[in-house]
Point group: C2
Chain length 575, copies 2
Amino acid sequence: MAEKIIIIGGVAAGPKAACRVKRLLPGAEVTIIDQDSLISYGGCGIPYYVSGDVADEKELRSTSFHMVRDEYFFEKAKGVHALTSTRALAIDRKNKTVDVEDLNTGKVSSLPYDTLMLATGSTPVQLPVPGADSSNVFTISDLHKAVAIKEMIAKGLVSRAVVIGGGAIGVEMAEALSDLWGVETSLIEYMDQLLPGIVDKPMARILEKNLRDNNIDLYLNEAAEQIITENGKGVAVRTAKSTLDTDLIIMAAGIRARSELARDAGLLVGATGGIVVNERMQTSDPDIYAAGDCVEIMHLVSGQKFIAPFGSMANKEGRVAADNMAKIPSTFKGGVGSFIVKAFDVSLGAVGLSLQAARAAGFDAELSLSSPSDRAHFYPGQDIMCIGLVFDRRTRKVLGLQGTGPVTDGLSARIDAAAVALCAGATLDDFSNIEMAYSPPFSPAIDPINAAAYIADNLCDNRMRQLSLEQFYAWMESPATNPERVVLDVRHPNQAEPFVEAFGADFWLSLPYDEVRDRFAELPRDKELVIFCNAGSRSFEVQVFLDHVGYGNNIVLPGGFNVIRRMGADWLPVD
Amino acid sequence: MAEKIIIIGGVAAGPKAACRVKRLLPGAEVTIIDQDSLISYGGCGIPYYVSGDVADEKELRSTSFHMVRDEYFFEKAKGVHALTSTRALAIDRKNKTVDVEDLNTGKVSSLPYDTLMLATGSTPVQLPVPGADSSNVFTISDLHKAVAIKEMIAKGLVSRAVVIGGGAIGVEMAEALSDLWGVETSLIEYMDQLLPGIVDKPMARILEKNLRDNNIDLYLNEAAEQIITENGKGVAVRTAKSTLDTDLIIMAAGIRARSELARDAGLLVGATGGIVVNERMQTSDPDIYAAGDCVEIMHLVSGQKFIAPFGSMANKEGRVAADNMAKIPSTFKGGVGSFIVKAFDVSLGAVGLSLQAARAAGFDAELSLSSPSDRAHFYPGQDIMCIGLVFDRRTRKVLGLQGTGPVTDGLSARIDAAAVALCAGATLDDFSNIEMAYSPPFSPAIDPINAAAYIADNLCDNRMRQLSLEQFYAWMESPATNPERVVLDVRHPNQAEPFVEAFGADFWLSLPYDEVRDRFAELPRDKELVIFCNAGSRSFEVQVFLDHVGYGNNIVLPGGFNVIRRMGADWLPVD
């Protein structure tokens, strides 16, 4: 009798595993069960469907050769049964059956399995605020909701929207609503930055400025406390400080693993809420596999478990699960949290740990900040990236890389290379020698990833001393808190001039880089010098020289004006 | 007394090491010697200067903050002496001196050193053909020649040009001459493909088609035998088959390490012609370092030595040399040959070994070919990449990755990630799980690098059988050589139709992917089926099914129509 393989969940990990295992065991009877009527779609594409970049929701569930991945497709093309609108109710591990309900008929039946796989995904966090059940409050969790949102907008019913949550989905949805539809969009984030836990403040500030420059109103450090309703419709979102009128509310306050079915069946579920699996993607019952958003995986930098809710990871995990179902001993060792998001004309990416996360995880972590060119600086169209490299002083290991850049694939290239290196436990020395393909249209001779490691190496060996951007901003906002400190601007005098005018020549000293060696004696000996340039590299060079000639009371501002202008500040005299 | 550090060579590795060691040892006396009057330039930018993308040669030797890196700059900004127009004649290792000649005055003097570094670079191969010394024959080796070429073109003296050599510089120069200046350009390559040794034929063919489509005339398998001259000027290049009239001749026939000075001083020079160095970048004399194009380094895939003539590598090696001069025990372990080139609207990249190089190096190598989308296939502007992954059947190690794509940084991202993985000795299983940052504007959920590994995994485990593109092309050009073979096109009938019309329904069978399971019995049992689709993945799926139902006489065409249309063929019925 044919081996029976049942896979619960039909979005990403499930279909991947189903098709792979069917190819490995063509004689097996493979069945996907999903409570939705639509399956095998690119959920990450929903913001681009809402924005209109993708015209039809069918494109999100079509192959590259334009076949819609529906029940017919799975049956005919893949030889896989897909039971849609079918909810898995319970797993009987002893008798190896799954109880399912046909949601159209209400009929309950029991399906036998030899091997079972859980790909139950994740569910959006529903904030427990009054009014959250209003008809115009949507999570970004399935295609039906996406269609409903787009219909509302297309009908002209949405002139204002509030997005609750400043993670990737919140940011992408804010862009989708504002950019192409011109919806007046506000975004509320409970923490004091966008993408908390993913990037540190400098990168978050760059993203925030970019959103504000594109007419998204940000409400950081605020929590949605109530959705004010009229006739069952949310008409405003109230925080402790603000009341935001709205026609549409997107709730993007994070996700949690959908692991109830597993838990009810007595399978181990971790503290993250994700199903516990081994490297073969087996749950605590070896005949039951799990993959995708519903499992917790090893973070290969922190050594801790985490949920990695990405379609890309779901596919990899699903394939490994399928291999093992077919007795091929593939393993999935974990992940490093590779992440990238587009917001208007900025890309923001990260991999590994942020400084904050690294310190919370016990590392003696530090951030090296830089702002290199994304390709040869003489090549037309070059742009600046802002790169943060997080490293551990104790082991010299790189813990993470984060950055912003233009919307090319240039940032991806650095994040992806770093991801591979992080998985290999790479040190600063390894990062210094990562061999990025070099040609002026694609990269500078000293690649941003190498340059970031060089700076970190100088920091780690205490050859460079830096002021964090947070410290610099705090001081610039209240210079009186440290009156013994002045800025030494080593850029061209034309660039320094507006700052000298704004802050005075005693506070903002201008001494060009190439004149420091001849004129350093003009510098005050009784002040701490914050050395300032465009990218930080000249500042470091000046620091080394000033230390050498006995002006050691100085500190480098890393990343320099390139970063600050992208972060923005009220006190900046130039745009 | 200050430590004296002399660095011979002022283009890339030399200036990098000089500035780094000066920062590490601010009290040292650091001197760069170069026979040229212009130093510290981005030689890789020369094609973009000639094309006009870069207006002024000064941009190639300027910092990102627009200071020209001349003697003044090194002295004032870096604290480094630069002796330009000064040729190093000989090294006296016993007395630790370098004899130098001031090329302006002819004066010879002897400079003492404590530590010496050789960064003498490479020299272009001068083909020993009659007429090669004509005034309009140029190598791409320094800025003076670049200026001279551009002047000739700008004066309208060049309506036709011949480029000798189909490596990266030859390709870039052909584009530079043709694209912006409209020069009728021919390119001669001795081997039967462009970029021999770097990529295999399918990728080379894609590049070749792209050049031809952009009006570059290619003469492959031909050698320049004579430059016909008139009044000291080359007026035509003659090969065994062709005579190409020309106004300008670019000789780009490769480079060799400039290691004479080292050899004359008794330092070890390897079989590659490069100076032998250890991982600390020390030559066989521990007080003499060497870095850049003049050294041979370890190829971390083949285990053999090679010359890596890239400014990016020179910078890394120079930094490691400087660290060691300052007693910091940094190491440089070698490289994997990361490579990328732009040609019109195509990017071509490679890292590690080509199939041909891998087999020559003794590996049981095979090529997995695929043609995935570079980002989510539903995202606007997505494009197809062609990816070749070379792996070793015996160890399952990945040996190389090569590809073509649009001129975004998307190909870079895959080459760079692969470079890091190759350095870590990654296997197919590691490549299957490389965690590329996923978001629809930047990547598909199953990244091309993962997909390439999946296919290779199926090949390596003998789950997939493939026909090489070379074999397919040979057969399509002479179908009679194998009359027992037919094509099974599983694409949509609309796509198959022109092929069925051109070749007949008995030769080019059309049976759509989603109908194979119902209609396979219609297929001939006495023929070998070459399964054909757009990208190869449906073909593999059909192969698995046909094998299962007893139609095992079939073989997959990897990469499918996506690759073939980019390679081009006379027999293709569609464009």
